[in-house]
Amino acid sequence: MELHSDKLMELLGSEEAAQRVINMFKQHWPAQLAELENALASEDWETAENSAHAMKSQCRYLGLTDVADLLQSIENQPKNKHDLSLLHHLLT
């Protein structure tokens, strides 16, 4: 998934800052996603909720509304069945 820096630039006020966040996001995302998936699989709802919350916040900064909404629903109802395929698109 292509990440655009427009939204971030607007929020952070600098192209350099926006690019840095995107790089950090790409670097941290695989581990964060793995943590969320593990937490859901092992029914560790508290960790799942916290992971989803942290990732959601970053997605909102990146303007990834659909992904953020999915993470919000995981955060609110971690015990529900969720389709995580959208999250994996971010890694491609």
Binding site: L11, S14, A17, S57, Q58, Y61
Partner: protein, 237 residues
């Protein structure tokens, strides 16, 4: 990374507590580029520990953090300093949180995702309001029995002679005057006067309380009592 701002406030110390490891360092950098000194911590417990080290003019607290959340941290901070300006960072759809924060006396809120410029302006305005309120408080005059204490000049009138209090004596007496029922907790007094809870300063506090007792001794209706396990209470009958 960020361009140095024009409105530097070099003496303003901010405590930023946010568990977002990606974005919070940028927030710190941005505010520092605007001239604030920012201490960043990533958990409520670390935040409280940093706050106890003292010297902060304002706090920015993320509401949602694991273990100790921003509200719980704010409650602890308010116990130490009821007037500390606090700005909460919160999610978009957390109205209950807003209400809880307002009940805790939040000075302002900012919703994630926020623009850095907006955050800076809100912090600046919050600190400005707080500073104005403090200036107002510093101008006040307290009547204590038949004594009159002028906070701005640190003068205590009403005894045989006017007494010019030292800065620490004046701060302590002001704390008594502004506290509910005249009760001040020992840890709060140490934090407000010296900025930490050092044991040696605790002994000094006893000395300053004794001095205030002497200064106010002309009015038998005034007592400063030891409250076991708590601190002190100034009673005016």
């Amino acid at each position: 990374m960020f361009v140095q701002g024009k409105h530097n406030t070099p003496d303003m110390q901010i405590l930023l507590v946010d568990d977002d490891l990606t974005l919070s360092p940028l927030t710190k950098e941005y505010l520092e580029a605007k001239g604030f000194a920012v201490t960043l911590r990533h958990s409520g417990d670390e935040g409280l520990s940093a706050f106890k080290s003292g010297g902060f003019d304002g706090c920015i607290l993320d509401v949602k953090m694991p273990l100790k959340d921003g509200f719980s941290l704010a409650e602890d901070i308010r116990k130490i300093n009821p007037d500390m300006p606090i700005l909460f960072l919160t999610g978009a759809v957390q109205k209950e949180e807003r209400i809880r924060g307002l009940a805790l006396g939040a000075d302002d809120y900012i919703t994630k995702p926020f623009s850095m410029e907006e955050l800076y302006l809100r912090v600046r305005n919050t600190l400005k309001r707080s500073s104005n309120q403090q200036k107002q408080a510093d101008k006040s005059v307290h009547q204590i029995g038949h004594y009159r204490f002028d906070v701005a000049t640190r003068e205590l009138h009403g005894g045989p002679e006017m007494i010019k209090l030292t800065a620490i004596e004046a701060k302590l007496l002001q704390l008594f005057c502004e506290s509910e029922n005249g009760i001040i907790r020992r840890d709060v007094a140490l934090q407000r006067i010296w900025g930490d809870e050092d044991m040696l300063k605790g002994r000094s506090l006893n000395v300053y309380v004794s001095k205030l007792r002497t200064f106010l001794s002309e009015d038998p209706g005034i007592e400063i009592l030891n409250v076991h396990g708590e601190g002190y209470q100034m009673v005016v009958r």
